[in-house]
Symmetry: C2
Subunit: 460 residues, 2 copies
């Protein structure tokens, strides 16, 4: 299925009537909107539009619906499973220009923003209020994209994911209707939870044009530390015991020996190239002290060394920047290589086994693939660092990925903890959810009967 | 719409084939299954069945679907907005006999249970594991009912509601298909969030037959206190400031002067009959101490008196039992009276205004109606204590309720924080969600095209 050239030409004219030069068919612009940060092939849309309001998005959607033209919402293009690829052509709806912070209610710890607002932009805006938005997937993604993919990241172990932190949405439905979900109350028992349905729907049910988010007070004390371990098992067991003890750790990140070597080189750091945990503790001075004591004791029992502290904000930023650069650091291990990131999530009691078996499988396959993880959630990532011209490497990576997903599912886990399905993991959805996929399909059909909203994603 | 007597007779025979004597058409049994704890009129089903497994529920549903017979899932009948009334007759599916705790994974802090398991039963079962399930709506409700109504209660301010604490479900769909949602991983980005769609769907999308719940470690220290205030505004301002300061208080409950008088009489307590806050603090010894210091200082600044402590488990239980008996205590104020409970939830910055205006409205109406609330969430409840033979009183209560809901919605709140819509609040859903209701209706139609699952609830 693709849209006839004639219809595209008509649509361009109609879009220009109200968007003027905020409509582009330039090859470079379309190419840029047809790819994310993954290894998935570029699939450019026919048209890119840059609306600036909910009303403009609704007009775009109504027009596209009339021409039966696919629509793909676009934020910053930092997703990892081919979420924005225009598999059937159509219109990329780039909301990056809708980047206004519409209101901040400091007393209610909430805010309302447009979907193009980026994570760092929001936190800079909030700085003087004493509040922050904790969800941090690494990339400086748009909050619209983060909502659509149910993003999480390093802080999720304490603050939850986008699922827990979106209070309400404005969504343009597939027929151009504008719907407001949720509200400002902290809880509600009034009807179906549409907010949670749109969070993680990857643009397949509508276009998110406004988001109400929960905010948090900046903790009195924040402290970060790095701890090296002799063994991967020791590091993971420390994580498991920390969670089981109920320590409200804010971040607890694993980097395996391959990844530590990579970030040492890339970021000019001098950590031992052994399995390592990065921690961050939030709370009162006394509370942080208590958490550190508990976790320090657990680490010492599990082959962990001394904690190296980063208490000043600059030191903390440097440490987390190094963590966030893990993917680029891994890529730099092999100049000219292409990265392929994937993630799974398992119950925490199975985390050590799942990581160790996966590490052994990678090593046996002869591939280069550092492991990092938001391990407090049971979530970890692989980044295969591949030679793009070697089809054999790609095939082996696919096989390792398949086995890792199968392993995670067998252990009661999920095929993706936070990257989403896009079209890269579409083959695993049935295996994970079985008959549930048919329920998802019924909902998709009910809300987007023409299959125009980001077609080919999530549902096969 | 109601089912022809002939079809009912055939259905009874068919049901008896596999359920034997676990099928009842006795008037008393049907009456008991046609009412909840609310003022709403009894509407008995034609048949009550007592299945014992997912498979039996699926068989019941398939048969009902074939006869186009309405089905109403039934737990303990403690809901408050007419959720279980068989408005169009049909079959009440009583799952109270499905009350097995199927697994407890202490190391992963989760469990899997049947829907008839009750809140207290679960916590008794967990006692030796050092874990607990925090959601506590007061009534000893079934977890199936709590899931279906998105229940919350006193602990929600710290631990969230059923929305945050259900990890996965087994659901029998309207056509008898069995679907499993969610999983054991703490987070997942794999497809639409069906779990959250069923949580709060009030039996209108399917019958919940298994629930996976999140558990928590019992805190090292727990302490409860009661603090009396000179004014309602002082009590509410203390709550608002506590939340804004980020104190992780486990419970923070308001009882107004009318309610305090009622519980003093009912439970033989000697508290001042003034607006009062009940607190509970969870954490480490030191953490609880810090929380108490902060909240104590806030209370003192807001006309609060001394904290009266309940640290021993028996004292704490007695205190919370008194809180939970608030509704019965209110009823006892006026022998022969009928209670009518309603609730709303607003952003916390509007809580004082909303409660004070509502109190003034009740007083002006001449009605007896104590106010209690899970005020840390911005959620409060009214219980009108009415003469059942006085239509004028009922009409005045309806008017006060209407104005309270309108007030809450104008303040950015919701028409129900935790009781749900049932059919009692069906008239408010449009006002709250507008076009969103049409999206809910599309989903309902897609998943239950015959409108057989608890018809007449949530959606008009």
């Amino acid at each position: 299925m693709s849209v006839p050239a004639e219809a595209i030409a008509t649509l361009v004219d109609e879009l220009r009537e109200f968007l003027g030069d905020r409509v582009s068919t330039a090859a470079a612009v379309c190419e840029q909107h047809g790819r994310d940060e993954s290894y998935h092939e570029t699939a450019p849309p026919d048209i890119v539009v840059f609306p600036e309001s909910t009303e403009e998005v609704a007009q775009v959607v109504s027009l596209c619906a009339r021409h039966r033209c696919p629509m793909i919402p676009f934020g910053t293009g930092t997703s990892l499973e081919g979420h924005v690829q225009a598999l059937h052509g159509g219109v990329s709806i780039d909301v990056s220009g809708m980047n206004e912070i519409l209101e901040v209610n400091a007393e209610d710890l909430d805010c309302r923003i447009q979907p193009g607002v980026r994570r760092k932009q929001l936190n800079e805006h909030l700085r003087d209020t004493g509040l922050f938005f904790p969800i941090d997937p690494g990339a400086d993604a748009s909050l619209g994209g983060m909502t659509a993919t149910r993003a999480s990241g390093t802080n999720a172990v304490r603050y939850g994911t986008m699922r827990e932190n979106v209070l309400g949405l404005t969504v343009v439905m597939a027929d151009g209707r504008v719907v407001r979900t949720g509200g400002r109350a902290r809880k509600s028992a009034a009807g179906y939870d549409l907010t949670r349905l749109f969070v993680g729907s990857e643009g397949t049910l509508g276009v998110i044009t406004e988001i109400r988010l929960r905010l948090y007070g900046i903790p009195e004390a924040m402290s970060a530390a790095v701890c090296s371990f002799d063994t991967l098992a020791g590091a993971v067991d420390t994580v498991i015991q920390t969670i089981q003890c109920g320590v409200p750790v804010a971040r607890i990140e694993l980097l395996d020996e391959v990844q530590m070597d990579a970030i040492n080189r890339y970021s000019g750091l001098g950590y031992p190239a052994t399995p390592t945990l990065f921690f961050e503790f939030h709370g009162s001075e006394q509370g942080v002290h208590e958490q550190v004591e508990t976790v320090g004791a657990l680490a010492a029992e599990n082959t962990g060394g001394e904690f190296r502290w980063a208490t000043r904000p600059e030191e903390r930023s440097r440490l987390w920047q190094a963590r966030h650069d893990a993917y680029y650091a891994a890529l730099a291990l092999r100049p000219g290589a292409q990265g392929w990131a994937t993630d799974v999530c398992v119950p925490i009691s199975n985390l050590a086994e799942c990581i160790l078996e996966t590490r052994a499988d990678i090593d046996a396959s002869g591939l280069l693939a550092p492991i990092v993880g938001h391990v407090g959630d049971g979530n970890f990532h692989l980044a295969f660092i591949l030679d793009p011209d070697d089809a054999g490497e790609l095939a082996r990576a696919e096989a390792v990925n398949e086995r890792m997903v199968a392993r995670a599912l067998d252990m009661g886990g999920t095929c993706t903890g936070e990257h989403g399905i896009g079209y890269g993991k579409i083959g695993f959805l049935n295996r994970e959810h079985g008959e549930g996929v048919s329920v998802m399909r019924s909902i998709k059909r009910a809300l987007d009967p023409g299959n125009l909203m980001n077609p080919g994603k999530i549902l096969p």
